[in-house]
């Protein structure tokens, strides 16, 4: 019984899931109809839970790419800037086209934006794999320069677009489900299939656990690194387009600002270590949901939204402290303490062995 208890507590998703349940419980207490999902006149699903799934989609999409990058013992700080670049690119193409409402125009704009982001992602991959630069630094370059590039594309303006097909990407519905949520689900499923149904995931983990050993075992890290950074950038662009479409405007300064931090946080909350190696896409999903539920909670409880960051800090500190090796070691000591003997009349408190 006790063993099962500790197995559950020791599971890496235990604390994040507890956090998620607590947050949802707080919401349910404050807003009685929180869990209810209704279908409106157009046949679209509505409800707080749907909002969480829709608004959390961009973070989740980026976090999926980030998970793979982190699994290779890397990190990608440039995703926020890539969001801005992709949004700026798509909007400027739509604006210069004669017919913004043409589906073809929007498709071309989105594809060009994705291609541009892919190129920039491969650039990150090149810096990391070919030049051997530390990932945090290599992607810092694009993080800094990226907002400049985005402004170069928008020429310092906030580009507002009036395009029905483009607006659909951020706020449309497919069979009643928000389009952004569908995209996030598809991305998560595809990446999970691609990495877990093939050896790809294991190879990525091996590069993260021990690059030298995996090289000697014949794993070509270079190609894998190109792949994960390219994919991460591509997904960042997808998220950027959704964000931009949601705002119906490309803002080079503010689109995707701090989203890299949320994405990294989602990955870490999900139990994937920043030291690389084992990764969990399920964990990332939970992490992203925790973050988005937290933001929603702040609104429903009536805490001023400006205090969101303090709560985010509290959650990060709480979860990382609970997951930390020190806490686990302390739990382990408590678990393996000698059992008090029943034969003695007054069992004295056993001294914890150090």
């Amino acid at each position: 019984m006790k063993d099962i208890f500790f197995k559950v507590i020791g599971h890496r998703l235990f604390w994040p899931l507890v956090m998620l349940v607590v947050l949802i419980a707080i919401n349910v207490i404050n807003v009685p109809g929180f869990l209810s999902i209704t279908v409106n006149a157009e046949g679209n699903l509505f409800g707080s839970l749907i909002d969480i799934l829709r608004n959390g989609a961009p973070t989740l999409i980026i976090a999926v790419g980030m998970t793979l990058v982190i699994a290779t013992r890397g990190i990608d700080l440039s995703v926020g800037s890539l969001c801005a670049i992709a949004g700026a690119m798509a909007c400027s193409i739509i604006l210069t086209s004669p017919d913004p409402n043409n589906v073809g125009t929007v498709a071309v704009a989105v594809l060009v934006a994705l291609a541009l982001a892919l190129v920039l992602g491969l650039w990150n991959g090149m810096l990391v794999s070919v030049l051997g630069i530390q990932p945090i630094i290599a992607t810092l370059i694009l993080m800094t320069a990226g907002r400049g590039i985005a402004m170069l594309i928008t020429e310092g303006q906030i580009l507002t677009v009036q395009s029905t097909p483009f607006k659909f990407l951020g706020s449309g519905f497919i069979y009643g489900v928000p389009f952004a949520t569908v995209v996030a689900a598809v991305v998560l499923a595809l990446v999970a299939l691609l990495t877990r149904r093939t050896a790809l995931g294991m190879l990525i983990e091996s590069v993260g656990i021990n690059p030298e050993a995996s090289r000697q075992a014949g794993v070509r890290a270079r190609g894998l690194l190109f792949l994960v950074y390219g994919l991460c950038a591509l997904l960042a662009a997808v998220a950027g387009i959704i964000l931009t479409s949601n705002q119906t405007a490309a803002d080079a300064n503010n689109t995707g600002l701090f989203i890299e931090l949320d994405a990294i946080l989602a990955v870490v909350l999900g139990g994937t270590s920043l030291n690389g190696g084992r990764y969990s896409l399920t964990g990332t999903l939970v992490g992203a949901l925790v973050i988005q539920t937290l933001i929603t909670t702040v609104y429903t409880v009536g805490i001023p939204p400006i205090a969101t960051m303090v709560f985010k800090a509290a959650v990060v500190v709480a979860v990382t402290l609970l997951q930390s090796p020190t806490t686990n070691a302390a739990l382990e000591r408590w678990r393996s303490r000698p059992k008090p003997t029943k034969t003695s009349s007054r069992p004295s408190e056993p001294v914890v062995a150090r």
Binding site: I137, A145, L321, S324
Partner: protein, 336 residues
């Protein structure tokens, strides 16, 4: 390199010593930054009227004294192999505490002490999180960044002006000569710089900081006080962010929750351009100071150019970062 015996090769010896200095991972990047600064300064002087003057340098110091202090704190952290993402937010928190504290009528001395103590305490907490709970510096300082930024908004959403006579007197220029003036902030920043150089180069704590960046395990085996030093490094960074915020509030005479967004990036960039290796173990605070001046000079040149838009600053800084990171890579791999 090798010792040179023949007397005719004194010139060769100088050349070899110079190439040695330039190709060493320790001093190479700093020297390149120094050269770059001189080249940019001269090129700017050739291109623009009134650029090549002491006024330009002093203006740089006045405008960027806060960044200099941020970069000093960041140098300690990066040399020890860590990173601090919270400095920009802590700077903003410090300006807000200053403005709000003065608004409710606290005397300036109390406000200043309050700022420095609270930001150092935040640094201490971060250090303990990293050291005791083995949380990566990236995540721990990220949490601190969220906390500081959030507290800013809770204390005051809008910008608060500072009218306190002591603070306004600190904003007044000190005239050194015709068209030459500095502010008290410059003096404070330079004093901080001198202290930082002394601490890093000549104290046991400084050497332990380098040792942690060079190899934490070796440091532990040598019996160095690793834990204490690692925590202290973040206390220093917190203190410097608080001081930088104070200087910033002297400079702008206001407190605002959105100041210093991206300040951590500027500080990290300055440290990298100043030749500090991001893996830790190498670097000079003076290099970081040079890095700050180079960043400032880029901004000044873009202002002087007039036709270039502000976003080119970011692209230039990114490009410069790239050059320096590749340079460091080449230099360290050659020695390895």
């Amino acid at each position: 390199m090798t010792t040179i015996d023949a007397p005719q090769s004194r010139f060769a010896a100088v050349v070899s010593r110079t190439t040695d200095a330039f190709t060493s991972p320790k001093s190479g990047p700093v020297l390149v930054t120094g050269l770059l600064f001189i080249v940019m300064f001269v090129a700017g002087g050739v291109r623009y009227n009134g650029f090549f003057s002491a006024t330009t340098i002093l203006n740089l110091l006045v405008s960027y004294s806060y960044l200099l202090v941020l970069a000093i704190g960041m140098s300690f952290v990066i040399i020890s192999g860590g990173i601090d993402l919270s400095v920009g937010a802590v700077l903003a928190l410090s300006t807000i505490i200053a403005a709000r504290g003065l608004q409710v009528g606290l005397p300036p001395v109390v406000v200043i002490v309050l700022i420095l103590v609270s930001t150092s305490t935040l640094g201490l907490l971060v250090g303990l999180m990293i050291n005791v709970f083995q949380i990566q510096p990236f995540i721990a300082t990220l949490a601190a960044m969220f906390l500081a930024r959030g507290l800013c908004y809770i204390i005051a959403k809008e910008s608060i002006a500072i009218t306190d006579p002591f603070f306004t007197s600190m904003a007044q220029p000190i005239i050194l000569g015709p068209r030459l003036s500095i502010t008290a902030s410059v003096i404070i920043a330079l004093v901080a710089l001198v202290i930082a150089v002394w601490v890093l180069q000549y104290t046991r704590f400084g050497r332990t900081t380098y040792a942690i960046g060079g190899g934490e395990q070796s440091g532990t085996l040598m019996g160095l006080p690793i834990a204490r030093t690692k925590v202290l490094v973040y206390v220093i960074s917190g203190f410097c962010s608080g001081l930088a915020g104070l200087l910033y509030s002297f400079y702008t005479l206001s407190g605002y929750a959105l100041t210093g967004v991206g300040g951590e990036l500027d500080a990290i960039s300055a440290v990298v351009i100043g030749g500090t290796l991001l893996t830790g173990g190498y670097g000079f605070v003076l290099g970081s100071a040079l890095g700050v001046l180079v960043l400032g000079l880029i901004q000044t040149m873009i202002t002087f150019e007039g036709t270039l838009s502000s976003w080119w600053t970011k692209i230039f800084i990114g490009a410069l970062l790239l050059v320096f990171i590749v340079l460091q890579k080449v230099l360290t791999s050659r020695r390895a």
